[in-house]
């Protein structure tokens, strides 16, 4: 049976920014935005579930984040994930993509590796699209980015469509492989109420009263938390310390339209408009 790991992130819901959600300096006021499952990570979980339905697989979902990120792990369980892990440690805070991919790749090794690793193309808060490929690089496996369709899956290979700006590539590859998935790939499923019943009491250990922990463990309701010490990671490569990316400057940009040209609705005007479009946007090659 294939082992699939899905990398997920809890992000502020930047798609629904209203009123006071942006601070004066142009950064996001995270407290004012609801935290959600990064949308393209849901698409990659859906790919994992479809693979499981087709050839059978064990799906593990990993997220690195603060304790409240356990919410997206529960959501993963409601959708059909088999195992979930919260990677959480104060020392991980402030990580850029380099430090994040370091920790995640070590977690994947720690839980026994994977045949297929799936990640969303990018997260809607940072929009870097770097963590997936960097994890592949650290694990020394192939990665294919921008996947817009799962075409076929067998025990030996996976065939996918990769979105380019002007072309679509069809790629067939063996395992192990890391794939990053775009929102075009599928419609993520809704949670299954029967799985809600099974998992709605699940949480990380610190959220249970001490005398209940054993019973909760027995019922399978404890979501494992993985810390830096569990992994024996070098402190210099984690969190802020391990992150060479420094924000140089943040500028608040207001989008505004300019250079608006109006054309009339008669043939002469339309011709003028067409000429202008051709001049600006069409390249004629020899």
């Amino acid at each position: 049976m294939k082992k699939i790991v899905v990398l997920a992130k809890q992000v502020p819901d930047t798609a629904n920014i209203t009123g006071n959600t942006m601070k004066e300096d142009g950064t996001v006021n995270r407290g004012a935005l609801p935290a959600i499952f990064n949308p393209e990570d849901l698409n990659s979980l859906e790919v994992a579930l479809q693979i499981k339905e087709k050839i059978g697989a064990e799906i593990s979902v990993i997220t690195m984040g603060p304790p409240k990120a356990v919410e997206i792990l529960k959501q993963s369980l409601y959708m059909g994930a088999d195992k979930v892990y919260l990677v959480s440690d104060r020392k991980f805070a402030g990580a850029d993509t380099l430090a994040t991919s370091y920790v995640l790749s070590e977690v994947i090794k720690n839980i026994g590796g994977a045949d297929i690793i799936l990640a969303g193309r990018q997260a809607i808060d940072g929009d870097t699209a770097q963590v997936g490929p960097q994890v592949a690089e650290k694990l020394d496996i192939n990665s294919i980015t921008y996947i817009s369709k799962l075409k076929n899956i067998t025990d030996d290979s996976i065939t996918v469509e990769r979105d380019g700006e002007v072309q679509t590539e069809q790629i067939k590859t063996g395992f192990p492989v890391l794939l990053t998935i775009t929102s075009d790939a599928n419609e993520p499923r809704y949670p299954d109420c029967r799985l809600m019943l099974k998992h709605f009491r699940s949480s990380i250990e610190i959220n249970f009263e001490e005398h209940k922990v054993e019973k909760m463990q027995e019922n399978g309701w404890i979501i494992p938390t993985i810390t830096r010490e569990d992994l024996g990671l070098e402190i210099e490569r984690c969190g802020l310390k391990g992150s060479p990316t420094k924000v140089h400057k943040i500028k608040s940009i207001k989008l505004a339209g300019n250079n608006l040209t109006m054309y009339g609705d008669n043939p002469t005007e339309i011709k003028k408009m067409a000429q202008s479009i051709i001049k600006d946007y069409v390249e004629v090659s020899g």
Partner: protein, 566 residues
């Protein structure tokens, strides 16, 4: 994100105390397995999650597909009925989300929900696409099998229902047996220990489904309801039933209405012979009537929402039309009917839960005879009262919603056109409004609501104290009117004024339900005051109508039909 399980629905749901019901459903919380609930707090948490999941699916996935479902309609070719593609997708999504077996036991893949919670899911599905409710809501068949079928039948059929692999129908109506089901003639013939069905059924919602519960005459020569039994027909086991045609309907285009011909089709008896109509169909019908009430409620909510939206968007004479008294007058009337009916439907489902609890307790040998009797009377009264109220109200609300849209409402470009057509069936099928009156009037004449009126008198209200007094005066007027009718002792006249009495009961009972909500929630007070004043005038009108009918026509009421008899 859009979600139908909103603050308003929560407010009405929270008014029902489900504690005793849930405790029973969850085996007194004695079962400590991981797929059982261990406390009422847990149940509340899970039910809310389930309702939110359902509410999101309805708002995000189903509603946007409703227009296509209506326009395409089901197809029929060479005896094969096809649902619209969007309907198939809807059913798949609901099944994958685990919502198909709402009230069924968990061992079959169901959610073991109280009827009350499931009713809200049915309501939300109907708000998104009324025609989908007919397929989704036909879980009632599975519930009937769960209650009366053999262990083998249950194990064979119920998991398939819960997984969404099959759908079903209740095959009761025949060309000459509609409201009067005692006239059913489809024959059930026993041969070598097996049963075969022979005859025709008409107007069967989703008759093309894999499983049908068929009412048939098993006792040759025995006329009336006692000669009828209930049969389980499974199309994947026998192919001697054909769909002859599907109807071309006014509304609910996504739900196929089939004519079925059984040609010695093999079926299995459900439960005991001769109990088909008198026990099983009555139970099935009551469930279906509640589901149709929830359907009408959903349609009414959708129509009301569309009306509010349009009244704000449409500008005439330099302002949005919502600002014109003639328009907001319609809106407040619609809202009062909608919300008071909502609490009536939810309360009815609550009493159905209570009834089922006592039925199961009685089966387990507990001595609950008195409670069971009371619960049965209450549920059997409130079910038709609800259907009488909300299905008529849904039609009025949809009518007014079209009116607010004016010319646009008459065109297919706006959802209200579809909603007004979909609403129209709700006060017809599963028993017309006129039949609901027949089913409800007995309870009124025997004082079924007396205990509620007593409770009303002892309610300790502060904000609503003066309204409480006025409402009690109306109740006393109502009681006097019942006595007046009863003492007249003329069946024809009693039947004639029954409609007025049922409407009176509905008005007063809804006020009784709403007064507590208004006391507790300030935001509902103005709406309730409006509703109460409106009800008061209407109640006085109805009482006068009954009085004048007695004094003017009296025992000669039947003369009114003279001119219509040809």
């Amino acid at each position: 994100m859009a979600n139908y399980f909103n603050k308003n629905r929560k407010l009405y749901l929270e008014h029902l105390d489900l504690q005793e019901i849930v405790k029973h459903l969850e085996n007194n919380y004695q079962n400590d397995s991981t797929d059982a609930l261990h406390s009422f707090t847990e149940a509340t948490q899970l039910y809310n999650m389930i309702l939110e999941n359902g509410g999101q699916i309805c708002a995000e996935f189903i509603e946007p597909r409703a227009e296509a479902v209506d326009q395409k309609g089901c197809s029929f070719n060479d005896g094969i009925v096809e649902w619209v593609d969007e309907t198939k997708e809807n059913m798949k999504v609901l099944a994958k989300a685990g919502l198909m077996g709402g009230t069924l036991p968990r061992k079959y893949g169901g959610l073991n929900l109280p009827v009350t919670i499931n009713t809200i899911i049915v309501e939300m599905v109907s708000q998104a696409d009324a025609s989908l409710m007919n397929l989704f809501g036909l879980q009632d068949i599975a519930i009937t099998i769960s209650k009366f079928g053999s262990e083998e039948q249950k194990n064979r059929v119920l998991p398939k229902f819960c997984a969404g692999e099959i759908s079903g129908s209740m095959a009761l109506t025949e060309p000459d047996a509609g409201s009067d089901l005692q006239a059913v003639t489809l024959r059930a013939i026993e041969k070598d220990g097996k049963w075969y069905l022979d005859g025709v059924k008409r107007f069967i919602t989703n008759g093309c489904g894999e499983v049908s519960l068929v009412l048939a005459r098993s006792e040759e020569g025995l006329k009336g309801g006692r000669g009828l039994s209930m049969f389980l027909y499974e199309r994947y086991r026998d192919d001697n039933m054909i769909v002859r045609r599907i109807e071309d309907k006014h509304g609910i285009h996504g739900s196929p209405t089939c004519e079925l011909q059984f040609n010695m089709a093999e079926a299995e008896l459900v439960g005991k012979r001769k109990f088909g109509l008198i026990k099983y169909v009555m139970s099935l019908m009551n469930g279906a009537r509640l589901a149709v009430s929830a359907q009408a409620l959903g349609i009414a909510q959708a129509a009301f929402n569309e009306a509010v939206k349009y009244a704000n968007e449409r500008e005439q004479f330099g302002k949005a039309i919502v600002h014109f008294p003639a328009v907001y007058q319609m809106l407040i009337n619609m809202q009062a009917k909608l919300e008071s009916s909502r609490q009536l439907v939810y309360t009815t489902s609550y009493y159905v839960d209570i009834l089922e609890m006592y039925e199961e307790k009685a089966e387990l040998g507990e001595n609950v005879r008195q409670e069971l009797k009371k619960a049965k009377a209450k549920a059997d009264f409130l079910t038709p009262l609800s259907k009488f109220t909300i299905t008529e109200a849904a039609n009025q609300i949809a009518y007014d919603a079209v009116q607010i849209h004016a010319g646009c409402g008459y065109m297919k470009d706006f959802p209200v056109e579809r909603l007004s057509r979909d609403a129209r069936i709700t006060n017809i099928y599963e028993g017309t409004t006129q039949l609901q009156v027949v089913a409800a009037i007995g309870g009124i004449m025997t004082g079924i609501l007396d205990s509620d009126w007593e409770k009303l008198a002892t309610m300790d209200l502060y904000y609503m104290a003066s309204t409480q007094k006025e409402l009690l005066e109306l109740v006393s007027l109502f009681k006097k009117t019942i006595i007046l009718v009863a003492e007249f002792k003329n069946k024809e006249l009693n039947d004639y004024v029954a409609t007025y009495l049922v409407e009176l009961a509905s008005l007063l009972y809804r006020n009784y339900l709403m007064i507590e909500i208004a006391e507790k929630h300030e935001e509902k007070r103005e709406l309730f005051q409006f509703f109460f004043n409106d009800s008061k005038v209407r109640a006085e009108y109805l009482v006068n109508k009954i009085k004048t009918t007695i004094s003017v026509h009296g025992g000669k009421i039947a003369n009114l039909k003279k001119e219509f008899i040809v």
